[in-house]
């Protein structure tokens, strides 16, 4: 995977340290993989095809042709409740910034996928478990508004443990805000694709993730509203392994397709071209 110039600047120190580490262990099959080989293979295990969770910038550089114009990167995290649990919220945020090498749970911007203009948003599970707080909601809303203004499609990659509790009801309200932006965007006949990656649950799953024209999921991604543990506690029995996987949801008719990461860019490109053709016909 070639790394564009801008990517190095955005990824931060820790990411470089991660890259420098020689190997990663596959959480599925236990295989020890050279980090460089893993990156070259789009973070898919070369032995068992397990799809590793990806950082937002790795994902973006895997898809975007050249330049990527970021939107809302300076919208910064606030602390509206003055939250404290074992740590204060600002301390947690600072730690995640350092650790994940990004400044919030989603990276949004404008670019092109194989020549097709697109508004792309990528959530990152490494930052606060991909939870949606006001920054995530705000950036996604800004992205959808910009896409609507330009009349270009929007592709959102989801990865989320749900709403971010440390921001209380401000976080929950992001479901409303992003949905309002999605609705305006789609009413104008624009094309909206979501790609559900592991895991996609709670407030993200129950808002924009399932509001799109085409819902793609990565293989074996865990997708659902309620968390597995909550359900198991409620019903007092263990759930089958298959439950809430992408493949399970495909069979149940919830999602349009399960696409392997190696096929993802080509698939997205075809979808964007279908929509572009429809747009031309309507013009």
């Amino acid at each position: 995977m070639p790394m564009p110039e801008w990517l190095r600047i955005r990824r931060g120190k820790n990411a470089e340290q991660r890259d420098a580490a020689l190997w990663s262990k596959c959480p599925k099959c236990g295989e020890v993989l050279y980090r460089r080989d893993l990156a070259t293979n789009l973070f898919v295990c070369t032995k068992c095809a397990h799809h590793f969770r990806m950082s937002a910038y790795d994902r973006i550089s895997m898809l975007i042709d050249g330049d990527f114009t970021e939107i809302g990167s300076d919208v910064a995290t606030g602390d509206p409740l003055g939250w404290v649990d074992k740590k204060t919220y600002p301390v947690k945020i600072a730690a995640d910034r350092e650790k994940a090498g990004i400044n919030e749970g989603v990276v949004c911007g404008i670019g092109a996928i194989d020549g097709c203009d697109v508004a792309l948003g990528v959530m990152d599970f490494h930052f606060r478990g991909g939870t949606m707080g006001t920054v995530v909601g705000e950036r996604i809303t800004m992205l959808l508004e910009e896409a609507r203004k330009r009349g270009i499609p929007c592709v959102l990659f989801t990865a989320s443990g749900g709403a971010r509790m440390e921001e209380g009801m401000f976080a929950l309200m992001q479901m409303a805000k992003t949905t309002a932006a999605v609705a305006r965007f789609m009413q104008d006949g624009n094309f909206f694709v979501t790609v559900l990656t592991d895991p996609t649950t709670g407030g993200v799953s129950a808002s924009f993730a399932f509001e799109s024209d085409v819902i793609i999921a990565e293989p074996k991604a865990m997708i659902g509203f309620a968390g597995r543990r909550v359900i198991e506690q409620t019903i007092r029995q263990k759930l089958p392994d298959q439950f809430q996987t992408a493949e399970f949801l495909l069979e149940k008719g919830h999602i349009d397709m399960v696409v392997e990461r190696h096929e993802l860019k080509a698939t997205l490109t075809r979808l964007l071209r279908y929509a572009a053709d429809g747009k031309r016909a309507r013009a």
């Binding site: 955005r10 606030g78 939250w83 809303t141 309200m173 309002a180 993730a209 399932f210 509203f225 809430q244």
Partner: protein, 326 residues
């Protein structure tokens, strides 16, 4: 065990003693008026002491009080109601009650989450936890209301969406998302009232509105205090602290601009004078509907968009700059 119910026991004991004394007083030559007056004063003091100021955690339990008025207690007091059933596909979910109604002389679409008023009804209504079929009924009724020009009035009262296996199998996420999607687009006034517990996305599915009301002791939260404590403190016993931190009371949320109006409850909670509370809520709803009805659909939609658009612009200086990298 609900601490509010526990606390009421002491109060009820005093009330019983007052009644006993009164009965005795009527039949006996000895005048016990002074004792009665003293007890009455004690009752008042106790009541103020117990309920005069409730912590967030106490409010959660007030919101869950088994005798607290439920959606049907409000719905039964409107001038007319014709219930509509079903998602047109699969099932009629009894945890949602909805239909045409007349309120203050105007036709509206009423939609409420209904928990049970006793064990049997709780089982039937799934404790007010709505399944995907219920949310699809909500969406359908909201769509019909929008087409016909009928304001949408909702009553929110749920711990959260149903977390069962079949709800996941029937696409709970999609069902809630499509409610949100319908509500942001409805071309009619929407007035939502949190009457009990407003739990997370399962509550918000009925909560996108032009005017949001909360009962004084109701709560509205991104997650249950218990769940939040378990996750963030890894310690469920921290629920009380979580309740405080989450800022889930009506006063907090009004201060945040997330809700618009608080309807006061009598000392001791809504269930102490249910008909007063029901009347007050319906009057507030009526007034909001009337005020919003003066707006055109376009103005309503624009105002609704702006309202939700603003939430989350706090704290950060929201510069809409778009920087090219590098």
């Amino acid at each position: 065990m609900n601490p509010i119910v526990e606390r009421e026991k002491g109060l009820l004991e005093v009330a019983r003693r007052i009644d006993d004394l009164r009965a005795a007083n009527a039949n006996q030559p000895v005048d016990m008026s002074a004792e009665i007056a003293a007890l009455e004063q004690k009752y008042e003091e106790l009541q103020r002491e117990l309920f005069g100021s409730l912590t967030p955690y106490e409010k959660i339990h007030m919101a869950r009080h088994p005798e607290r008025p439920t959606a049907l207690d409000y719905i039964s007091q409107v001038e007319s109601f014709d219930e509509l059933h079903g998602d047109r596909h699969f099932r009629d979910d009894p945890a949602v009650v909805g239909g045409f109604a007349t309120l203050g002389g105007r036709a509206v679409m009423l939609i409420g989450q209904q928990r049970g008023r006793d064990t049997k009804e709780n089982i039937k209504r799934n404790f007010g936890m709505v399944t995907p079929e219920g949310y699809r009924k909500v969406k359908r009724l909201a769509h019909t209301a929008s087409r016909l020009g009928l304001p949408i009035v909702t009553f929110i009262d749920t711990k959260g969406a149903d977390p069962g296996i079949s709800s996941e199998e029937h696409a709970q996420s999609e069902a809630i998302a499509m409610c949100l999607y319908e509500f942001v687009q409805a071309r009619v006034p929407i007035v939502a009232t949190v009457i009990g517990e407003g739990g997370s996305g399962g509550a918000l599915a009925l909560g996108i509105a032009d005017h949001v009301i909360m009962l004084e002791h109701s709560v509205y939260s991104v997650a249950s205090a218990e769940g939040c404590a378990a996750i963030l403190w890894s310690d469920a016993s921290k629920a009380e602290e979580a309740a405080t931190r989450l800022k889930l009371t009506a006063a907090d949320l009004q201060r945040f601009g997330i809700i618009d109006e608080i309807v006061p409850e009598p000392l001791g909670g809504a269930h102490r004078e249910p008909s007063t509370v029901v009347t007050r809520v319906l009057e507030s709803v009526r007034r909001a509907v009337q005020k919003l009805s003066a707006m055109t659909p376009e103005a309503l939609l624009e105002e609704r968009y702006r309202k939700y658009r603003r939430i989350g612009a706090w704290g950060t200086e929201r510069r809409e700059t778009i920087g090219t990298i590098p």
